[in-house]
Amino acid sequence: MSILVDRNTRVVVQGLTGREGGYHALRCREFGTQIVAGVTPGRGGTLWQEDNKTPVYNTMEQAVKETGANTSLIFVPSPGAADAIVEAADSGVKLIICITEGIPVLDMVKVDAYLKGKNVTLLGPNCPGAISPGEKCKVGIMPGNIHLPGRVGVVSRSGTLTYEAVNQLTELGIGQSSCVGIGGDSIRGLSHTNVLEMFNNDPGTDAVVMIGEIGGTSEQEAAAYIKKNFKKPVAFLIVGQSAPPGRRMGHAGAIITGRSATAEAKVEALKDAGAKHIPTPADIGLVMQQLLKARKTVAVSAPKVAARPAAKAPAARAAARPTAKVAAKPTAKKPAAKKPVAKAAVKKATALRGRIAARPAARAVAKKAPARRATPSRRPATRSGRRR
């Protein structure tokens, strides 16, 4: 189970014939995503140069009509990106994921107002996209190989910090249902709260890692929602506590403009909502592991109710016991999943090999994880050893 993207996701890439669009569309397809079309005005009627198969259209309307695409992935450069989002919204796709960074904020203000009341969801812009590892669907630019199918949801404003979070989870054998990057701009589509609502309703998600940062009040809104309605455990990290006020920290939205925009204010609000604070960026995986353990204890104390669904749904059991056994399970499934991938992109075999090679490595670390987990007391020794 998952949110936003899954097996039925059919992706049209706006900007498929560009360098970025082409590169990432290939990586998505390798992961298992259905890339069904591209749109580049002026290139309509041609085939994608990478596979000589995928049709390229002049307009989104045509692409959706001809291929039944239901999701758009946008790589159009910033001057034309707002237009691309609106074209996608009018084409009938249900989900738009905009990767483009640097869209003028007043363009996004217009787009945001235009999308109001339309039956379409925007993720981003300036985001890494969304991935559902168990569904073999990745619609974005995140490295697929660090993900592990499982039952923890991840929502974040960042790209690489999300990868860091996912990597920490995977190394501890904690798989993910879906990971969603909502983007670093101040005016964006889905908010933390919107994504939490989806995780709340997703039977495949048991707990959520939420990552926020300075600027805006998206985290406070999420806190209010968690307090009132969220039924699953949340671990959260807020970055930017060391940032000076008034300075933009890379992301257009990451700027302290008042008390509510500070890391402290956000941490306070989320703690107050009952979410578990992740004290340092190094502890994302560990804190989630503790939360899941606590959850398991509760489940055990209510034997019949908890035991039955666990027996029926192996995935649920997997999440409850984040051990080497769980980590091994998806590995067994993997080769089957890779076959079509290998066929589809023989040219990119090198990159693919990199991915395959990376997987066992991640597993190996996962097996070692219990030792590292126990290190808090041992860490000082390690540290002094290393320092020398």
Binding site: S78, I103, I141, S158, L161, I211, S218, P279, R387
Partner: protein, 381 residues
């Protein structure tokens, strides 16, 4: 992008917003001439990209053209230190010489983007001349906020509403509403991220004049405002920040001594936080960007090597689009070119991690390779 007050006022004047008579001077002689043309008395204002100029001695009243020249001479060429600048201050190259206004009342007016309102908001207050944050904290009832519909724009009634709330009466309401409408137009047409008039003054027999003017231009809209980009004054920027800016690297100089090189803004902030949490201080925020190439990494690292305060460097890279080996090559190239470099702690993760580590091992540089963020913290303690 920040611009100077004289540039902001010139933009406002183009949109029919009343500003004081005056001109900008680069020399004492020019200041004297402008003051003379204004009838003798004048306000001489240092042109720097920083607030708090008045308290720092950057704004002076003068009674004669000669005095204006003297004040200009004392300001031009020196650095002004305000509470918003570093201890070294920012250079004054120009002064704005303006007519003296008989101020009756000072108001506050600004337009900025508000994420919660999902668009620009107008903020106005009867309590002008003070920092708006202070007004908001002490007397929030004196602040008016209006978020016009972003696609339809500001309606006349909304402009009137603000004018009445500011205590304007009679013809002033019409003038105030017109000023707001023009300001809104300026904000949209020039893709601004901030206009702040503090104070907006009622002067003499009741005219409304923008006594100060601060404008920030949205960097992301630069492609459609080539003309506005010429207003940039690189001298007002920190030299290292300027270098980064010119190379498309997101960099903010801080006051610590641990240089940070990271890919991605979120991870960069997380890395700074890790440094702070163990009691060390980050020297900078630096995001080399997603698809950085070796040359860009090299330039980014050179900025750190050029910062004399950097005593140690922490590299924290999660390879995705950016491959770890490319990052490592860029770093090594920068160090080799400079000849010397501070000790480097490198944590590489993700795409081509091993290749990247090997590049460092083969380089002969003082690089400590670590695995996790915990290790990074331990190394800095």
């Amino acid at each position: 992008m920040k611009i100077h007050e004289y540039q902001a006022k010139s933009l406002m004047a183009q949109y029919g917003i009343p500003v004081p008579k005056g001109g900008v001077a680069s020399t004492p002689e020019e200041a004297r001439q402008i003051a003379a043309s204004l009838g003798g008395r004048a306000v001489v204002k240092a042109q720097v990209h920083a607030g708090g100029r008045g308290k720092a001695g950057g704004v002076k009243l003068t009674n004669t053209p000669e005095e204006a020249a003297q004040v200009a001479a004392s300001l031009i060429g020196r650095n002004l230190v305000t509470h918003q600048t570093g201890p070294e201050g920012v250079p004054i190259r120009k002064v704005l010489v303006e007519e003296v206004q008989p101020i009756v009342k000072e108001l506050y007016l600004s337009i900025t983007i508000d994420a919660a309102a999902r668009g620009p908001v107008i903020i106005a207050s009867e309590a002008g001349g003070m920092e708006i944050e202070e007004v908001a904290a002490r007397t929030p009832e004196k602040i008016i906020r209006i978020a016009p519909n972003p696609t339809v724009g500001l309606f006349p009634y909304q402009a009137r509403k603000i004018a009445y709330a500011l205590g304007l009466r009679g013809d002033q309401v019409r003038d105030g509403a017109a000023l707001l409408t023009n300001l809104w137009k300026l904000f949209y047409e020039k893709d601004l991220s901030l206009i702040e008039i503090n104070p907006l003054a009622i002067v003499g027999e009741g005219r409304i004049v923008a006594l100060d003017g601060k404008i920030n231009i949205e960097d992301d809209a630069d492609f459609r405002h080539k003309d506005l980009m010429t207003l940039r004054d690189p001298e007002q920027e920190d030299p290292l920040e300027r270098m980064a800016n010119d190379s498309g690297i997101a960099y903010v100089r801080l006051d610590g001594d641990i240089g940070c090189v990271v890919n991605g803004a979120g991870l960069a902030m997380a890395t700074m936080d890790m440094v702070s949490l163990v009691g060390a201080k980050p020297a900078n925020f630096l995001d080399v960007g997603g698809g950085a190439e070796e040359e860009k990494v090299k330039r980014a690292f050179t900025i750190l090597l050029d910062d004399p305060r950097v005593k140690k460097v922490l590299i924290n890279v999660f390879g995705g689009i950016l491959r770890c080996d490319i990052l490592a090559r860029g770093v090594v190239a920068a160090c080799k070119e400079k000849g010397v470099h501070p000790p480097i702690i490198a944590r590489l993760q993700g795409t081509n991690k091993e290749e990247g580590r090997q590049v460092f091992r083969d380089s002969g540089l003082k690089v400590t390779l670590i695995e996790t963020l915990h290790d990074a913290a331990a190394m800095l303690r």
